[in-house]
Symmetry: D2
Subunit: 435 residues, 4 copies
């Protein structure tokens, strides 16, 4: 079968000096970085969602992207889409892909039909996986596009919707297991509210906690070895999403007994919409022990919605990669390129340019992080800054051996503390030197 | 002694039709609202910080407000300030006030000296409290203005600063106890970071947890019956503050074993800087069982820093008051008017206008909330929306009696759920009707 | 023919105490406010766009609103939609409506076909206008939804698109004239850029200036007596829209010789997305002599995209209405309710609740403005504040009779100026008193 | 005299591989870039304001930076500051500096005294200029710090304040002329409003227009050959500043007959606070013919106030430098480093690190822009995109030879336009390739 991606070139690493726009200049899968291959650090994946389902639609305009599988018999089109997708994935040569159930197969008239349709198309997907060796980073269920989910899935006021969502997640979790997926993601697309006026926060929190616990129980029942991941987002499409940011989801997991069971899939654009830098969210998740996986799509600094663009500034991203490396990597997670090409980018090759830019920016950021860490200046400065806590009085305080009273007495009988420079400008210069 | 506030009138309730600019038109302390007096619902307080310390300084200009106690011998000026403050408080006739240690008394050369100075001036304060019957809603220690705290207090890289902060908090906590304060507040003024590059998040989180635990232990040791409160803020003066918002602080309390010991003091302007509505933060705290007290200062919707203005839109605020009433009130907390008068508001009477507007807006908002709740339309609509969860299948799900598998089976064998209108516009009209 | 709106009640004014959710509590069309009827001040209109075309689609989900005219033969559906729309308009009883060409009739295969289709459906519209007496506030051409406009209409890099847009505008301008429209609006839906990298700002500015001049010339050629209006918006769907805000459009009009020919249609949500209050944009346009008409849809203070919600806070809006009244009203303009009902608001009656709330909030805001102006306190305070400029030295300066040198000499030989209170809190209290 | 900067090293260019933290790695003053030396392209300057006046004060805390000239006799301290400043400037080796009058000398009791004090200290400055060869990029008057300006300078409701400001500007303009300054800047520090309630926009606009005209007249009278520059800022310290952004100031200049007389000094942080990228503001000013000079201080992407930090991401900045080079440079303008070191950066060497990072980031950005332009791919893509406007039908349209009617006829008789890819991802990859 011929696809719109056939005429695109195979992407190859050609070094920083390459001028071919389709050459990878930094992503060299087997290159060893701090004792591990680039591919092992990044475990890069391409998502079905924006890449093969996105059509350029926006709230003010019709689709602009034409794909053969956007018309015709939906099931046949789904198979055709799968085949084209894997042609694209092969051209790109990355080891992983990701999907929502509804990206892969159309919705049927009933839950059973939808599940059966998904299974049928996943046979094609599985065949393509075997043919190409491309693996599944994560699967997920789309619990937000259908009108039944307009008021949320797990947090819907109607228990029937909760049950429907459960039925959908169970099926996709099992399919993910069957396909050897490394993780299963839950994105709370509409778990939130449009107005507090019709919302019972305590009730919806209890529902969401119940739902997650059910998913975790089922994961263990079926022996799925992957990680369950929640993807935080602060708003959009709802006014307020419950999985706002890393710290908020931490509190939720703690409240519902899910720490140790669930980790996070952090998206750059969701981080900035929540008022955080991407590196902040990664560092916070690492500090809290819940760093799972990454979605690399960034936002536009001047716009207040999810623009989901490919990363294109390696220096910016190097601070995020630095946190990943400091955390020892992403474990079973990876870096997912679930970014949207722009509405005006209507040529099939635009999709390839986008991914080449995204993966190369990420690889370059990893190399900058490597240089920063090899130099060691930043790490040393940080260690020295906190050195007082690692021994003597500081250590005793941290070990709980000193009461407030004793601290007060200490302060009253010791010379007053002297401010020391935070050295931000010098440290920024160090970080910039390796970019 | 004569003060700049002597010529200001005493504020009195005069009803909605009053035209006197200094009349209270809504705040009628003894009026019963849903079974409790207004004063009991609100427990309004005036803060020393902006009202008697603020001088109109901003990053681009010198002080504009002139107060006699801004010059001369600092200790004498502190006594003079206390006397003037209580004249103002009497004119206003509210039951509570609040203070930071450094608002009340100057910093001395050593911790001991500072503590002694505070104690001396607090004698004047205590005398004024006895004279006027005005009580202390909360006390707090200023752990952010002095250069020693430039890199944080509890989260400072230097254990000596941690000890100094401990000494300061111990003293103010004990003073608050002595003065019969109803609460003790911790605002993490500089507990956060200016750059991740020099910051160890895990270490600083551990320090902050340790500090709070020490404060809680000491509270119990001295038998202070008040509530310990944390005041969330997302940023400013630091780039990122650890006590970002209600959900973040919940996670922190949970992580450090402080749930049940510490509640929150929620400020309107901090809520909006964090990307939340004030009512969202209140409702979230109520749902999580950590609602403590309120700071009423609002932000400017077009500006991105803490403008700390008095509330002036009762309809806006009625949604916040509605959440307070739904939560059963603020317990030992209250509503604090810690708002800044504008830099151009240089006349003593401007300070009075400001408080009259603030308290009256709040009282009016409470009356709107009362009418909404008496009408009952909003509450009924919300209850009906979630009715499916209160019995039968929904209840079984919430009680943990139904597995994911059983839910999937249920969904597959029942008719698909039907969307029901969220009725946002109709509900907004109900809420607006009572404004 | 029966429509989905048939069973909705006719809306009537019933006074502030009315409890019927469909009663108007403030909008009393013939009530005289400061010498003019409410209807004459507001000239309220309902827009086709969101009300009859909106389907609940968002970037994350499928349509949720079902309307009979969303399926079936497009032309027949367009007639059906027109009939239903006028049933709705009659129920609401407002004097005006507005439309985009593509709201009313479907796109044909060619420009000629599209124009012919529009003319056919407009016959139905015109018949309905005659039957009901409802008039056209403005017409406009949709130059943003079709893929041909993905890179702009007048600012498209392809002159053929410019020509196509010209053909469309010419036709709708003439249709607006034929229907007796009071204004013609241009919203630069995609006149802007997604990336500066492919954009020539000077060229696109020249194109937009040329286009507007062509429209103005044609308006005069055909004798259209209405006003040409530009609707500013700062971003979305593009990263940057050229008609960013009032001040920006003023500069554009000045640069292209269009002052005196073109005025502005100001939308509340576009104002806040641009970082302004609605009242700021109205006051600025009034000061610059380019205030034309209003779109009442507001944004959500926590979200960064165009939520296009109905106004529901009369006190907020009173400051905007105050500026309208100070400006002497909107002339041939009006207040357009082009707001979106929420995606979950799927019942036909939700659309009616929305409009009832919107118009009533606006009318209430007008009544607050009336009380503020009758009281006169605010106006007097403002006049007194600037009194120094109205006579003597101040007046000479404004008349250009005093050089910089003479001013310097004046300053050196007169007592230094004394700061006077800006009295913001007192003035806010006055404004709030009448809400 | 010894200064705190004596022990700092002299900064020298040492190439990209240098590891000395005080080495310049990219700024090589005499290196030729696209036919002009780096120094000529950039004309870099250091500002007195943040560098020698900033003390680490913020709204929540006391000064942290200690400088010998912060205490003692103010006039003597001013001379000492000037000497230290020039030691620092020499160490840095940049060709220009900038100042506000109040940065250099203290305020006296009267305008005459203040002017005399300034003149005295400027003698020291002038001597230092002669000694070092360092020139003045621009001078400016501080019309915002003193309480007299709390309600604006030119836009103050009190004509006496207007006169005082005129006296101050006249003096500093003449001093700038005397020192051979290349430009004179007006930053409308408090030309704006805190509340619309006490503001007459039309009056204040007229005052600001009058003031600027007076300044321009005086410039011509005294024969000052430099450029008058306005520095846009959207907000802070006021709620709304009149010189909001480039497009707004263009409209103002046009309205008051000042086009051709006044250009803009664009600051990165002010651009982003106004919702624009820095490159957008530069490109807009260039397109409108009013690009004058740059202030390089950037904001923090997560904070909503003027953080005034040194640029540290060369790739980000390369898009701004690209616009500068496309515009043919900055003429008499330059790039000013008026950035704040962080409150925790208390060591004298922090100030040097900051400037080294800032100038090097800027130079590196210029080199990236050079590579982009030498490659030519971006420029070619843009030219091709608009090629249709440069000849034939497109050219006729732009020349005004085609009416709306003729355009409509053209569109109706030609094949419909075909969308062409905007190629954003491919173009971003090109831009990134040279970073």
């Amino acid at each position: 079968m011929s696809t719109i991606f056939d005429r695109l070139p195979h992407i190859r690493y050609a070094g920083p000096e390459a001028t071919d726009p389709f050459a990878l200049r930094y992503y060299d899968a087997k290159r060893v970085v701090l004792g591990r291959s680039m591919e092992d650090w990044l475990r890069p994946a391409v998502a079905y969602w924006h890449s093969f389902v996105g059509n350029g639609l926006d709230p003010f305009g019709a689709p602009t992207h034409q794909r053969p599988w956007f018309s015709g018999d939906p099931v046949q089109a789904a198979h055709q889409k799968a085949e084209a997708a894997f042609v694209f994935l092969e051209k790109l040569g990355l080891p992983f892909f990701c999907f929502h159930d509804r990206d892969v197969a159309p919705e049927g008239g009933t839950l059973r039909e939808s599940n059966a349709l998904l299974d049928r198309v996943l046979e094609t997907v599985q065949a393509q996986m075997q043919r190409t060796g491309i693996r599944l980073l994560w699967g997920t269920a789309n619990l937000f596009s259908h009108p039944r989910y307009m008021a949320g899935a797990a947090t819907n006021p109607d228990p029937e919707v909760f049950a429907y969502a459960a039925g959908q997640v169970k099926h996709v979790l099992e399919a993910t297991h069957r396909l050897g997926g490394a993780n299963y993601v839950l994105w709370g697309g509409r778990e939130g509210y449009d107005t507090l006026l019709n919302t019972d926060l305590r009730q919806e929190d209890a529902q969401l906690g119940r739902f997650l616990n059910l998913v975790v129980e089922h994961k263990h029942r079926i022996g799925f070895p992957g990680t369950i991941l929640i993807e935080p987002k602060p708003m959009e499409p709802t006014k307020h999403q419950y999985d706002r940011d890393v710290a908020t989801v931490y509190g939720f997991l703690s409240r519902h007994g899910l720490l140790g069971e669930v980790k996070l899939n952090i998206e750059a654009n969701h981080a900035t919409l929540a008022g955080h830098s991407f590196e902040h969210e990664i560092a916070t998740a690492a500090a809290l022990g819940i760093l799972g996986s990454l979605d690399m799509n960034r936002g536009d600094p001047q716009n207040g919605w999810d623009t989901d663009q490919f990363p294109n500034n390696a220096q910016d991203l190097s601070l995020a990669m630095l946190e990943v490396v400091r955390a020892g990597g992403l474990g079973q997670g990876g870096v997912n390129f679930d970014a949207k090409i722009r509405r005006q980018s209507i040529d099939p090759e635009d999709l390839l340019h986008a991914h080449v830019g995204g993966i190369d920016t990420t690889a370059r950021a990893l190399l900058i992080a490597e240089r920063i860490l090899r130099d060691g200046g930043l790490e040393r400065a940080r260690e020295e800054r906190y050195a007082g806590w690692k021994s003597g009085f500081g250590q005793q305080v941290m070990q709980g051996q000193v009461s407030l009273e004793a601290l007060a007495e200490h302060a009253a009988t010791h010379p007053p503390p002297q401010p020391r420079s935070g050295r931000q400008e010098a440290l920024e210069n160090i970080a910039a030197r390796f970019a």
